[in-house]
């Protein structure tokens, strides 16, 4: 088993950033997306704001789950906290300043990740995943029970000003997250994260301060999710715990990262585009049962693309090589 995984890694994704051209193309696509609001098409603007939001969440998850190898099943907590910060700002302080909301949300989320990170990041594998899931569910329930934070009924945010502002904000957050991931992956910090993922003990022996790096990685991850959440709150106009802590916001980013390629810079963005395209098509073709088909899509993706779309660029040996690569995980 060790042998197969070593082979798989060698085939890899084209180094620590993944395929370089995929990153350049992603940047180009993001640049094109800047023109969407000027088309004055409400449907398209909502759709692509959603893509950018999920891409940001997925990029955030990728830092801790992909690069560091600590698979978080509860990153939605930071999204939810970010959304709550925005709605509280509006409800209690009549603040609509989107930059202020984003910065504040990122600070709150980073502090939360810092405090929770020290005990939680000691846990390995499944246990870390469950602990994060537990934190997400518990936070949702606690917020539902505190009226000052919106409680069970939530807050409505009256959208003043220019609506496309939210689109541009989400776009900026996504671009910053993508470029930040690129630079993180190529830095000493990025290599330390990958070292922790591959073998934490060996990394520690070589002088990597694992705890410090893991906590910082989780804080960065949290800030991306919280920023996306705070913009989502304004764009959505209404926030209550079931909306901000929705299962979709938790699971879609993970599916997207896997679909694109875990531990690559462009993977989450590619995944967000492909998955949204699939979801939209299914939704328009089969409005009643699109979730059923969506489940089937997830099953097929996992079975046939367990290492993501970008990985296909690195497969050697054509179709036969692809089929052989699928056999690696069987018993």
């Amino acid at each position: 088993m060790a042998k197969t995984s070593a082979v798989l890694r060698k085939v890899g994704m084209g180094g620590i950033t993944g395929n370089r051209y995929a990153f350049y193309i992603s940047c180009a696509i993001l640049a094109v997306l800047l023109v969407v609001p000027s088309l004055h098409n409400g449907y398209l603007e909502n759709l692509f704001r959603g893509v950018l939001m999920f891409a940001t969440l997925s990029l955030g998850w990728n830092i801790i789950g992909g690069y560091t190898g600590y698979v978080s099943f509860g990153n939605v907590v930071f999204f939810g906290v970010g959304a709550t910060v925005s709605s509280v700002l509006w409800q209690h302080y009549q603040q609509q300043n989107i930059v202020l909301a984003i910065v504040l949300a990122a600070i709150v989320a980073a502090l939360m990740a810092l405090i929770l990170g020290f005990p939680i990041l000691r846990l390995k594998g499944h246990y870390f995943g469950i602990a994060t899931l537990g934190i997400a569910l518990a936070t949702q329930e606690i917020i539902s029970n505190i009226d000052w934070l919106g409680g069970g009924s939530g807050f409505t945010i009256r959208q003043a000003g220019f609506f496309s502002e939210y689109y541009y904000a989400m776009w900026a957050i996504c671009v910053i997250s993508l470029v930040a991931t690129w630079f993180i992956a190529r830095s000493k910090f990025g290599y330390a994260l990958v070292a922790i993922r591959e073998n934490e003990e060996a990394a520690a022996i070589l002088g990597v301060d694992a705890t410090k790096y893991k906590v910082i990685a989780w804080m960065i991850s949290a800030m991306m999710a919280a920023a996306a959440g705070s913009v989502f709150a304004f764009a959505n106009g209404f926030i209550d715990p079931p909306t901000s802590f929705a299962v979709d916001n938790n699971v879609f980013p993970i599916v997207m990262a896997i679909l694109g390629g875990v531990g690559t810079v462009a993977g989450p963005l590619v995944g967000a585009f492909v998955l949204t395209a699939i979801n939209e098509t299914l939704w328009s073709k089969f409005p009643q049962i699109h979730t059923l088909f969506f489940g089937a899509v997830i099953v097929l993706v996992v079975l046939f693309l367990p290492r993501g779309i970008l990985w296909l660029l690195a497969v050697r040996g054509g179709f036969r090589g692809f089929i052989n690569s699928l056999k690696a995980y069987r018993v």
Binding site: G65, L292, Y329
Partner: protein
Amino acid sequence: MNLFFQILVNGILVGGIFAVVALGFSLVWGIMNIINLAHGSFLMLGAYIAYVLFANYHLDPFLSLPIAFVVMFLFGYLIQRYIINFVVRAPILTTFLLTFGLSLLLINAALLVFHGDIKGITTSYSGANFSLGPVTVPWSKLWTLVAALVITALMQLFLTGTKTGRAIRATSMDIGAAQLSGVRVAHLYAIVFGLGSGLAGAAGVLVSLSYSLQPSMGDPFLIKAFVVCVLGGLGSVQGALVGGILYGILEAFGSQYVGTGLQDAVALVVLLIVLIVRPTGIMGKATA
């Protein structure tokens, strides 16, 4: 003080269900290293089997228990053998997502077949209860607890007393050595997954006696299974039983003294504390 005992008894009674839910989940996780997110939807299918048999043939849910177990066992066996087996050795994330996709599929298929309206099973003895000193005990819940204990005991007997059971435990210890000794791992994994799914089906039948039925009914139980597994320790039958009953008590007291809305938060905070202090669970071995 009477209230205290009543809550304690309620917690123990409901804890039996949690134990059976967690038992199958814990087996699959502990032995195959798969977090089965479709466990809740397997439970839902079990509950609907009981409902269909009750509504059409007036079969008592306790009698449909073995039927649900066998049907769900076969279902789980086929799913493991022909779907999950292809990625069983991939990193946890892969199987996690695969089972999430499966659960979406199953829940929405159930939504198509049974529709979203809430259903329930009302037997002749639903609502009947007896007094035990100051404490009131509903008959159906008492029988549910008895059934849960019997299922757990049978499971323990199977794992320790039969050849297949010993092969399962051997595989969870050292898959290579088990293979060398002639264990067909793919077949065995399918049996384990079948058992897990069968137990989920049986738990669904027990759940159908005291909860209402709808396609997404399994999700809350999935979360509880997580907590119970961590409380009791992975892959251990006694652990699931102790963890289940402990969780039942915890939840009962949580909803009484902290607030009904916060009962899950209480359980989850306990989960986090146990995880941090003793990650292998209360009944788990000291070394994971």
